[in-house]
């Protein structure tokens, strides 16, 4: 029998303490224990980027991350990027305005990648945008509108 571990995270600004099994994946803890279902399980092997969340400000794949491994981390999921009063982040608005969403499965990962890119480089070129979302697959939009949405958020 595996011994459960105490971990604490700051998830979307809120300090949370949990008991997790050593083999629990971060994505399942977020989705099944914290009910943050924005991060999506897709390929499960690190090909698609659908499970992307920001850990200590950097995008990682939550389906390849053990929940115990990020003990003490600051975690930002798609649920945490709008204002507390519900006002959407400008990137979320841009995705709506540009119809950069079809089925929506890749969208949380795409928006978090855009957030990460724009945090580090407020005026990226189209090439830099495409480079940054290279690890996030979208099977609906052909990427064009996603890139357009991110471009519209440049300073």
């Amino acid at each position: 029998m595996m011994e459960k571990r105490n971990v604490s995270y700051t998830v979307n600004g809120e300090v949370i303490e949990l008991l997790v099994e050593p083999n629990a994946l971060l994505i399942n803890v977020l989705r099944d224990e914290l009910y943050l279902t924005g991060a999506k399980y897709c390929c499960g092997t690190g090909q698609c980027g659908g499970c992307t969340v920001l850990v200590n400000g950097e995008p990682i794949l939550s389906c390849l991350t053990l929940a115990v491994a990020v003990d003490g981390a600051q975690i930002l999921t798609i649920e945490g990027i709008a204002e507390p009063d519900g006002t959407l982040d400008p990137i979320q608005e841009a995705f709506l305005d540009n119809a950069a969403i079809q089925c929506g499965y890749c969208t949380p990962g795409m928006i978090l990648m855009a957030k990460d890119l724009l945090n580090k480089n407020p005026s990226p070129s189209e090439d830099q945008i495409r480079e940054h979302i290279k690890g996030n697959l979208c099977r609906c939009t052909g990427y064009h509108r996603i890139v357009k949405a991110i471009k519209s958020c440049r300073e």
Partner: protein, 294 residues
């Protein structure tokens, strides 16, 4: 068949804070333990049940494994993130083949998670960092409670997913000698889509004096059980004046010398045919980087 949604295997998770604590755990659990760093290789291996350790030992909290130092040789701590290695090589404009390889991994998330030591310890025949480190004459320092040893990367790779590392050993650092002034190096891979595992990859490092290639090192990935140097083609070019005929000849020798497999990413005959052109492109890129004209 594994389950990629959850981990079904049970294990203890150990979090050493120092190298000596990690070595003590390794000598205690040895064969049954597995070291995990970023998890981008180890977690899929667990999901597919390719490994079944009783203990996972994370090296992610060992700050002594995370450094880049350069004097006569470049020393990279085994736990250094791929992102940081890429940034270093990019800033310095040196070790450009390694920089090319790390850029080709592409995914920001994987670069933030994966480590250089991890990429080598997984010992995939297609590991992107391996061909550059082979042509840059990289070595790896391994350590156990009994002491440290340094092995060339060529000796480190023993087979697909097999290394010279003993169960009680871990990788401490990667060492790369400083390239000579008149040298250039490059890496190119062929993959299905932008951020994919390579079908075939090539790294070349050359030293030149005018039109003469004074020294040439060539390595390829995904053409054998381990990433390999191609000495037969290297001999064709080293010490020679580079002209088209010799260049063609070397490419033919190279494609005859490799032993690629057919697998889900590509076929033996495709890999063999494309190896010629891939080598030529990589050589030209490395040659151009020496600063002269081809």
């Amino acid at each position: 068949m594994g389950n990629t949604r959850i981990l079904t295997q049970e294990f203890e998770y150990l979090t050493p804070q120092t190298v000596s604590e990690a070595l003590q755990l390794l000598s205690q659990y040895g064969q049954d333990a597995k070291i995990i760093a970023g998890g981008t290789d180890v977690v899929p291996q667990l999901k597919y049940e390719k490994i079944s350790p009783t203990h996972l030992i994370t090296v992610a909290r060992i700050s002594d494994l995370n450094y880049i130092q350069e004097d006569k040789i470049l020393r990279i701590g085994a736990g250094t993130k791929l992102r940081d290695v890429k940034m270093y090589c990019g800033d310095k404009q040196r070790y450009q083949s390694l920089h090319d390889a790390l850029c080709s991994i592409g995914k920001v998330q994987v670069m933030n998670m994966g480590t250089l030591g991890g990429n080598l310890c997984t010992a995939s025949p297609a590991a992107d960092s391996a061909p550059p480190l082979l042509v840059l004459e990289g070595r790896v320092k391994l350590i156990s409670e009994r002491g440290a040893r340094t092995v060339s990367l060529g000796d480190f790779f023993q087979g697909s997913n097999m290394t010279a590392m003993q169960p009680n050993e871990m990788m401490l650092e990667i060492q790369i000698p400083k390239p000579k002034r008149n040298s250039g190096d490059a890496f190119i891979k062929i993959a299905r889509v932008a951020a994919d595992i390579s079908k075939i990859s090539c790294a070349v490092a050359v030293e030149r004096n005018g039109d003469i290639c004074t020294s040439c090192r060539i390595a390829m990935g995904a053409v054998a059980a381990v990433p390999i140097r191609i000495p037969a083609a290297e001999r064709q070019l080293s010490g020679q004046r580079i002209d088209d005929e010799l260049f063609e000849e070397a490419a033919k020798v190279l494609s005859a010398d490799i032993k690629p497999l057919t697998d889900l990413r590509s076929t033996e005959s495709y890999r063999r045919r494309v190896s010629e052109i891939l080598f030529k492109d990589t050589f030209a890129k490395a040659w151009d980087r020496t600063g002269g004209e081809k």
